[in-house]
Each structure stands twice: as structure tokens, then as C-alpha cells.
């Protein structure tokens, strides 16, 4: 059984403060150039494979649901 984790960004809830980009020890997240519904740049998942599911980005994010952490299980 293999487990892997990845973050999911809700683009329209992100205000692009970059707290999660700084918080992630693996450099999974990065600030993009595209603007969301608020007219703000938002974070995107740059390196999904590096995610360990530590959830630090979730706790450092000031928005309620801009980041979710998802666990993927693969059974043989």
C-alpha cells in the first residue's frame, strides 16, 4: 500500500500572502502570476511530488479553506 499527499488550492479563496510558500519545507507551493476573482495573484502547486502531508501550509494559511490537504492511498 502506497500513500502520498498533495495540497489542493482553491484559487478564488487565496489572497496571495505567500505565508504557505515560506512555510513549506519542501518548496511544494509557489506564487503564480494569474489573478483570481478578487484580482489578487494566488498560490499554485509547483511540485506536487515533494509534498509530505505535514499540513504546515494549512495551519499558516489565514483563509479558512484556501488550502486542503489530501491523502491518496493506492492499494495493490
Amino acid at each position: 500500500m502506497k500513500k502520498r499527499y498533495f495540497p489542493k488550492i482553491r484559487n478564488d479563496e487565496c489572497k496571495g500572502c505567500e505565508r504557505c510558500v515560506i512555510a513549506c519545507p519542501k518548496g511544494v507551493l509557489a506564487l503564480g502570476k494569474a489573478l483570481n476573482v478578487m484580482g489578487l495573484p494566488h498560490v499554485f502547486v509547483a511540485d506536487e511530488a515533494a509534498c509530505t502531508g505535514c499540513s504546515l501550509c494549512f495551519y499558516t494559511c489565514p483563509e479558512p479553506g484556501a488550502i486542503s490537504i489530501i491523502e491518496e492511498k493506492e492499494e495493490d
Partner: protein, 505 residues
């Protein structure tokens, strides 16, 4: 086969949708990008569901950026006046024993305007979870200096940096709280790096747990980022907190005695209407004035006299110690006993004796808009000369004056104004104490009412209600009821309608 599981998502302690936010932004909060409030709200919201206390938690929002806390938290919420969260929180936590009250205040709200209320709440050791958001600045109003602003820090009110000799030094609230014996848990945390955030999460969860177990006051000071107010980016503000703020506000646990404390207990509040009434008005005990007979009373004693149809505004004035306030109180009780709506508003100088005292009483069959009588008074009761001179202009052109003729010389009064006097102070000395003066004045009042306004049916009723009010007001001093009734009778005998010099119109 692949299966997916969401391990971290929007905490259910938040409303699913923030209905009060403008569409289409109903899923995020009003805070600026990178604001620490959001991080803290998330920690609190997560705890609400994890501990299953959504249905018994009240989140008290301060004045400050977090004023809209009740938009977001799916629990009870109250927004309080500036700095007054501790008072509201105290009332709530005492009235609702099982509630978990989270008081959430910023540095302007708690450490500046509300510090007085806060520190006494700490001193009483109320059962509260206190979250103090310290961002070293007034965020909402545009970045002014707060009590917690660092020395040298530039704000819009300290453009050259906070100067220690001029503006004082940063105020360390957690240390003050920890120095008091009653709080059970005091910790200072920061929302800078993920490591510190996880410590903050643990501290807030501990504080909420303590409150659930009624251990007393738990206080968490949170060094929170305000990147917009301090004009920094996310990295800069975290660096500011870690390197500058923590020098002045050292992080860590300052006090934790929760394990040693027994749950806080207060007297159990009583919500039974009859019991509250009995406690408030002991003299009514045994009397037939229950709710059902109250209605009967209203029909039975509805005064027929025309004078009671309209709102009656009465000013009672004299020197402190003459019994001005108790006279007004008796009149207010008379009105209440006959089911008028009545207000009683005393004002007096700082002196106990010898200062001026006056009191406004308004009685009405309808709702009373204002309890203040400062013009168009229907009746002026004066016990000394300066009061008459001061308040005569406030009397209606058709108003009535009742005065103590032993100390007051009546000036010219209006053509349609009437004055009734009684040498109250003089007669009271004859009765043995100047304290009976106000009952003598009541006698004059009764005489005036009988001669001018009352129907025969109400005439007797008026004396009865004076007696009932006197008995009620002096219920705890039964010895003086009889002499006061005697004084009332004597006052009625000796009262006279004053021959006055009328000012022609």
C-alpha cells in the same frame, strides 16, 4: 485502486458560507492578506469541532479588525463596545454555567481602552478563555501607535518612531496577568513560523480545555502578524515578530496551575420570575399582587381624574440631605402602585450633605420617551430657595409649585401657575426631626391634588396610595412609618394655597 481522503480542510467550526460577506467572496474572510487573525480563527474553529463545543461556545468579538468574528464562527457570538468584552464575558460565563466563553481582543481593545475592565476580570479569575492578539499596532484604524508598539517603531502617530521617554514603552500584558494569583494559565505564543503556530495551537486548545473544565481564567497572548499595518511582506513580518517583538515579548509559558485548581463555582443564577420578584421586592411577599391580580388591580383602581390622562413630569429639588431623593422615590412608588409607567432619575452633586440634589420623576399611562425633566415640568417640588430660582424657568406656564414655606420665599410666578406651601422644616422640628420634612411636603401635595385635580373617588385613593408608598419605602425601618404618616397628615392640615404676585402675560 486509488482512494482519496481529505485530511485537512476548512474547519467545520466556521460557517459553511459567510452569508454576511459580499458575494462572491462568501468563503474567505475580510482580513488583509497574511493577517494573523485568519490563522487564529482557524485554530479556534478547529478546536470548536474537535472538542464538540459549538453549541455551547460564545465567541466575543472586540472592536478592532476582528469585530466581525461572529460572521465566521459557527457558535454564539456577541460584538461588544470598545474594550468591554470582559464585562460581557463575565456576565455570560456566570449566567450560563456550562458555556465556554472565548473573549478575543486586540491590543488597542484590551491593553488600551479596555484594560481597566480586563484587569479586574483577571483579578476575579472568571472562567474564561482569553485570546489577546498583539500585533504592536492599531490595524483597523490605519496603523496608529498601540500600547504594545515597540520603541522606535514607526506608526502613523509616531512618524519618527516610538520614543520611550515621550510615549512610554511596550506594555507587557501577559506578565501582568501572570503576576496575579487568580489566572490559571498564561502563555505567550507567536504566529510567525509554522513551529510557533503549532505551539500557539496547543496553547489555545489548552486554554479552551481549561475553560471547559471551569478551571478559571486562561490567557493566551498571541504575537500576530499585521503585514499591511506594518508595511511588510509575509517574510518580513515573520522576521519582525521573531527577531524584534520576541525580544520585548518573550515567548513561552508564564504560568500553568490549572492542574491544582478546582472548578470555579458561582452562586447558581435564578431564572424563576416569581423568585426574582420576591428577591427584588420583599415587601410584596404575601400581597396579592401576582400577575393575574395585577390586571384586576389595573381595572379597579384606574384613576378617573383627568390629570392622570397625560404624561406628568415632576421635578423635585433641594439640598442634599433634605430628603429630596426619598421624596421623589415615594412619589415614583405612588405612581407605580397605581400602575403608571414611571421613571425616577436622581442627579446629585458629589457631596453627601449640603450639595444640591434634584430628581426627575415621570409618570405616564403610556410609554415614557425620556426620563429627564428639564423643561415643561408639570410640577416643581422645591425644598430650598436656590432650587426654586434654578428650576422655576423649567416649569410649564400652567404648572404647579409645591414648596417649603419655612425656607422659600416665593418670587413672582406666571399668571396660570399655582403654588402650594407648607412650613415643612418648621413643623418637622416640632415633630422631633427635620427628616419628616418630606412627608409634610407630601401632605401639601395631597392637599393641592384634592383641591385642584382629583375627583371625589380619587381623593381618598390618593391618601391611601401615599400611605401605601410610605409603608413600602420604609419597609425596612418600620419604626418611622407611623411618625411619617403623622407628618403627612399634619402637612395636609397646614398646607395653604399661596397668595402670589402674578406676572401678567
Amino acid at each position: 485502486m486509488k482512494t482519496f481522503r481529505i485530511i485537512k480542510d476548512r474547519p467545520a467550526g466556521f460557517f459553511a458560507e459567510f452569508e454576511k460577506r459580499p458575494a462572491p467572496l462568501r468563503h474567505n474572510m475580510h482580513y488583509c492578506p497574511g493577517c494573523g487573525h485568519g490563522v487564529l480563527h482557524k485554530i479556534v474553529a478547529e478546536a470548536l469541532t474537535d472538542f464538540d463545543i459549538k453549541d455551547r461556545t460564545t465567541f466575543i468579538s472586540p472592536v478592532g479588525c476582528a469585530v466581525f468574528g461572529y460572521y465566521y464562527m459557527d457558535c454564539f457570538g456577541i460584538s461588544t463596545p470598545h474594550g468591554r468584552a470582559p464585562a460581557v464575558a463575565t456576565g455570560l460565563s456566570r449566567a450560563h454555567r456550562d458555556s465556554v466563553v472565548i473573549s478575543y481582543q486586540g491590543d488597542g481593545d484590551l491593553a488600551a481602552i479596555g484594560f481597566n475592565e480586563f484587569i479586574h476580570t483577571v483579578n476575579r479569575g472568571e472562567n474564561l478563555c482569553y485570546i489577546f492578539v498583539n500585533n504592536a499596532i492599531y490595524g483597523m484604524t490605519g496603523g496608529q501607535m498601540a500600547p504594545t508598539t515597540l520603541v522606535g517603531q514607526k506608526t502613523s502617530t509616531t512618524p519618527h518612531g516610538r520614543c520611550a521617554s515621550e510615549d512610554g514603552i511596550p506594555f507587557r500584558v501577559a506578565e501582568i496577568v501572570a503576576s496575579q494569583p487568580n489566572p490559571v494559565y498564561v502563555e505567550r505564543v507567536a504566529l510567525s513560523t509554522p513551529k510557533e503556530i503549532m505551539k500557539a495551537r496547543a496553547a489555545i486548545r489548552k486554554a479552551i480545555k481549561n475553560t471547559m473544565e471551569r478551571k478559571g481564567l486562561s490567557f493566551v497572548e498571541v504575537l500576530s502578524p499585521c503585514p499591511v499595518g506594518l508595511k511588510k511582506d509575509a517574510a518580513g513580518i515573520s522576521k519582525f515578530i521573531d527577531e524584534e517583538m520576541t525580544k520585548i515579548f518573550p515567548l513561552g509559558k508564564l504560568k500553568d496551575v490549572a492542574a491544582e485548581r478546582v472548578p470555579v463555582e458561582h452562586p447558581v443564577p435564578v431564572y424563576d420570575r416569581e423568585k426574582v420578584r420576591a428577591a427584588l421586592f420583599p415587601q410584596e411577599n404575601g400581597a396579592e399582587e401576582t400577575e393575574s391580580s395585577g390586571k384586576k388591580l389595573r381595572e379597579d383602581v384606574y384613576n378617573e381624574s383627568e390629570i392622570f390622562e397625560k404624561e406628568r413630569r415632576i421635578k423635585v429639588a433641594g439640598a442634599g440631605g433634605q430628603g429630596v431623593l426619598s421624596l421623589a422615590y415615594i412619589i415614583a412608588h405612588m405612581a407605580r402602585l397605581r400602575n403608571f409607567n414611571v421613571t425616577y432619575l436622581p442627579t446629585y452633586g458629589p457631596e453627601m450633605r449640603g450639595g444640591t440634589a434634584d430628581c426627575s420623576v415621570v409618570a405616564s399611562r403610556r410609554e415614557i420617551a425620556s426620563p429627564i425633566v428639564d423643561s415643561n415640568a408639570n410640577m416643581l417640588i422645591v425644598l430650598n430657595q436656590p432650587s426654586l430660582d434654578k428650576y422655576l424657568p423649567q416649569l410649564k406656564p400652567t404648572g404647579v409649585i409645591v414648596y417649603d414655606s419655612s425656607s422659600v420665599t416665593l418670587p413672582e410666578i406666571g399668571e396660570n401657575q399655582v403654588a402650594y406651601g407648607v412650613p415643612a422644616a418648621q413643623l418637622a422640628v416640632g415633630l422631633g426631626s427635620t427628616r419628616y420634612g418630606n412627608s409634610l411636603i407630601l401632605g401639601a401635595l395631597a392637599k393641592m391634588m384634592e383641591e385642584l385635580f382629583l375627583t371625589p373617588k380619587d381623593t381618598k385613593d390618593f391618601s391611601d396610595v401615599v400611605e401605601a408608598a410610605l409603608r413600602e419605602c420604609f419597609a425596612d425601618k418600620p419604626k418611622i412609618i407611623a411618625p411619617n404618616l403623622e407628618a403627612f397628615r399634619l402637612g395636609k392640615e397646614n398646607a395653604f394655597r399661596a397668595e402670589t404676585i402674578k406676572t401678567p402675560k
